[in-house]
Amino acid sequence: MAFAIIVILLVIGTVAFHFLSPWYLTELASDWGGMDDALTITFVICGIVFVAVNLFMAYAVMKYRHKEGARADYEPENKKLELWLTGITTVGVVALLAPGLIVWSEFVEVPEDAMVVEAVGQQWTWTFRYPGEDGILGAVDPTFMTIDNPFGMNPDDPYGQDDILVEDSEAHLPMGGPIKVALRSKDVLHDFDVPQFRAKMDLVPGVETYFWFEPIRTGDFEILCAELCGTGHYTMRGNVVIEERADFDIWLAEQPTFQELTAEAVADLRN
């Protein structure tokens, strides 16, 4: 009897915890509200199941606890009931899956007009690259990576000359349109994670991965690495500043291009 009551209290407590919990989604900063909606739908459907099945179980434990002289029922199966339960569960599963897959179909199609920025991860910091005037990121290769060429830029590729290289771990991005975040790793697996953007993706050395999002508010957001990458994993931080287009243009113009950095390095050698 006490057990059934405790189960009921746990059910009530769990639901209460959900609504009272101060820990929930951070304030959305990207257009991926669809993910939040899918999460809400999942909570509603799963919440109903959690409450219904547990309360029914508590009721059964209360009503059918052992009493002298009573005997259990003998019913090996009930095909009709089992069929109904299977059917209802299938409907529930479809109700969860459909919205989720609709959002996913948006996630896999990067908009044609998305602005491109590249985040480069290494143990244990972030750097960034923008494609510059020609809109195309220049070719890179690990064999070109040196202290003077940390991005591994191919010096013979003309598209790379105007690439804008940001060597500190702060990237700025503009409001007003979708952004494709191209991801590249120099060494091991990492993951580019900004909770407020909801989207995240692993960086895989040897492969170019990506995700896209559209910012919906300005702000300064911390980047976290979300794939264990060694002892310094938890220190691998950066930040993304979302700002109005005009401010972004000013900031971008202040960043050096590959051509400028190469010229600087050559000049340093001469002196």
Partner: protein, 583 residues
């Protein structure tokens, strides 16, 4: 059947005479089961202590200086690997599988008793190799239990020189042990059943362990090859998983390999692995619920089908662990669909457990409490799986504390509650003594309420976005102070739950020493293992004559019967009042 089975085998059954023959180099499945259980529990205690150390750092960052970042990641890795493989898998299959299968199907022992004995000693060797990694230069690997390359074998990750090699070696040896045991369990179930014990009369415990073993035999090879390939990458610089890398400013001589390939291989093993742990738990809890509710498991046939379907589907869901791995995003559609489909047979099992209680005659014994506790926590853990399986919902939750809360609830709490239910339930059979009931109830309440207090709030820290595998959050702006307070509470709850486990250990010890002698069948259960002539069962289990089975394992409360259970080996018609047409 045309061929001779152990049931028909009339050759002299050789009984060991010395202490060493009976209890050390024993080929008796019951002794081997106890050896597996003791070893698994001991190494599990090591992993439990490691979890306390982790929680001390998470709850009280920096307060314990000996827990630095390297150590923290080593504790995380060893805790995870020990718990999943060396405790849960070894305990459910090597422990419960070995003890229950021959007894429940009416066999004298496993069909390959010498190989069975070897499997335990090879498992012990695997454990020793793993524990040795604490003592080698650089210490154990800190790559996470998932051991992802390239990081696992490169500078920057603890144990990347020796620790990872010992880990991989230990896993290879474990897989050898598992294969030896697994061949036994599968072959014994198929070939060793006594007369009348058809497959559809076997208790669900046997079905769960049987299907789990098949899963293991098919899935472990993927782990084996990935372990061998990673060892070769480390030792002779092949590049199975290693692309061109600049590590700490230095160009390495790897190139052309794929880190994601390892993930596919690992998770092709890793997902069936969680069902290797879960299916025996499902089977065992069905039997305990039905015995203590004096009612047949509801929908036995569907329960068998559900175990088979879950087992089969478990091979086509693996990449739900890889939604943000950078694999082709279109895979997300396929794996989200298969993952949510697997929810259907799993939900049916949950309904059937609850419907077994409905209209039952429920005795709230200690095993029953743990079993109902399993259903409650599994509903929670199973439902959160739907969040993570649905690819678009998973992306923000991936690599956060939501994942940790989910898999602990569904692998750590629920199956462990079944382990306790099973240990209490079969304690009188294994030892011939009764355990102390009061201590059992105390152990239950502390464990059940305590684990819920640990893992329920943890989901919400994950929804907030707190990443997993973080040694320190370094005052991240998006994390409120209250979250740190919550982490402190979770740590304290974890330590309290840990303390409650001593109640169990004390109970086992004092019950062994001065527990009341148990009757042969104290729970009045119908399955065969309770019908042995000796209690605990002697070597050979059945005395001179093997049992003959006349009914399924769930003839509880048959209308008209004098007793509220009819044992499996009771001939039909022996109780003239029992309405046996429907049994």
């Amino acid at each position: 059947m045309a061929h001779a089975t152990m049931a028909d085998d009339l050759t002299e059954f050789h009984h060991p005479k010395t202490f060493i023959g009976k209890y050390v180099w024993s080929q008796d499945h019951k002794v081997i089961a106890v050896q597996y259980t003791i070893t698994a529990v001991l190494v599990g205690l090591v992993a439990l202590v490691l979890s306390w150390l982790m929680r001390l750092q998470i709850g009280f960052p920096g307060m314990f200086e000996f827990i630095d970042a390297d150590s923290y990641y080593q504790y995380t890795t060893m805790h995870g690997m020990i718990m999943v493989i060396y405790l849960l898998t070894a305990l459910f299959l090597g422990g419960f599988g070995n003890y229950l299968i021959p007894l429940m199907i009416g066999a004298r022992d496993m069909v390959f008793p010498f190989l069975n004995m070897l499997s335990y000693w090879v498992y012990l060797l695997a454990v020793i190799i793993l524990m040795a990694s604490f003592f080698v230069p650089g210490g154990p690997t800190g790559a996470g239990w998932t051991l992802y390359p390239p990081q696992a074998i490169l500078a920057g990750t603890p144990g990347h020189e020796w620790g990872i090699l010992l880990m991989l070696m230990s896993l290879v040896v474990f897989i050898v042990a598992f294969t030896m045991g697994g061949l036994n369990y599968v072959t014994t179930v198929l070939q060793g059943r006594t007369k009348g014990m058809t497959l559809m009369r076997m208790p669900l415990s046997v079905w769960g362990i049987f299907v789990a073993t098949i899963l293991g035999l098919l899935a472990f090879p993927a782990l084996l090859v990935s372990g061998i390939m990673m060892t070769l990458d480390k030792l002779i610089h092949t590049s199975f998983f290693m692309p061109a890398i600049v590590s700490m400013g230095e160009q390495l001589d790897y190139g052309g390999g794929s880190p994601v390939l390892f993930q596919h291989l690992f998770w092709f093993f890793g997902h069936p692995e969680v069902y290797i742990v879960a299916l025996p738990a499902f089977g065992i809890v069905s039997d305990i619920l039905s015995t203590h509710a004096r009612k047949n498991i509801f929908g036995y046939r569907m329960m068998v089908w559900a175990i088979l379907v879950i087992g089969g589907l478990s091979f086509i869901v693996w990449a739900h662990h890889m939604y943000v791995s950078g694999m082709n995003p279109f895979f997300g559609f396929f794996f989200a669909t298969t993952t949510l489909i697997i929810a259907v047979p799993t939900a049916i099992k949950v309904y059937n457990w609850v419907l077994t209680l409905w209209k039952g005659d429920i005795h709230l014994t200690v095993p029953m409490m743990f079993s109902i506790g399993f259903v409650f926590t599994f509903i929670n853990g199973g439902l959160t799986g739907l969040f993570l399986g649905n690819v678009a919902v998973d992306v923000p939750l991936s690599d956060t504390y939501f994942v940790i809360a989910h898999f602990h609830m569904v692998m750590g709490v629920s199956p462990v509650l079944v382990v306790f239910a099973a240990l209490y339930h079969w304690f009188p059979k294994i030892t011939g003594k009764m355990f102390n009931q009061k201590l059992g109830y105390i152990h239950f309440w502390g464990t059940f309420l305590g684990t819920y207090a640990i893992y329920l709030p943890m989901h919400y820290l994950g929804i907030l976005g707190m990443p997993r595998r973080y040694y320190d959050y370094m005052d991240s702006a998006f994390i409120p102070d209250s979250a740190y307070l919550m982490n402190q509470s979770i740590t304290i709850a974890a330590l309290i739950v840990g303390a409650f486990q001593f109640v169990f250990i004390v109970n086992v010890i004092i019950s062994l020493i001065k527990g009341k002698k148990a009757e042969a069948n104290p729970w009045r259960a119908a399955s065969l293992e309770w019908q042995t002539p000796d209690n605990p069962p002697a070597h050979g289990n059945w005395g001179d004559k093997l049992p003959v089975v006349h009914r399924w394992a769930y003839d509880y409360s048959v209308p008209g019967a004098a007793e509220d259970f009819l044992p499996q080996n009771m001939p039909r018609g022996q109780d003239p009042g029992a309405q046996e047409e429907n049994t």
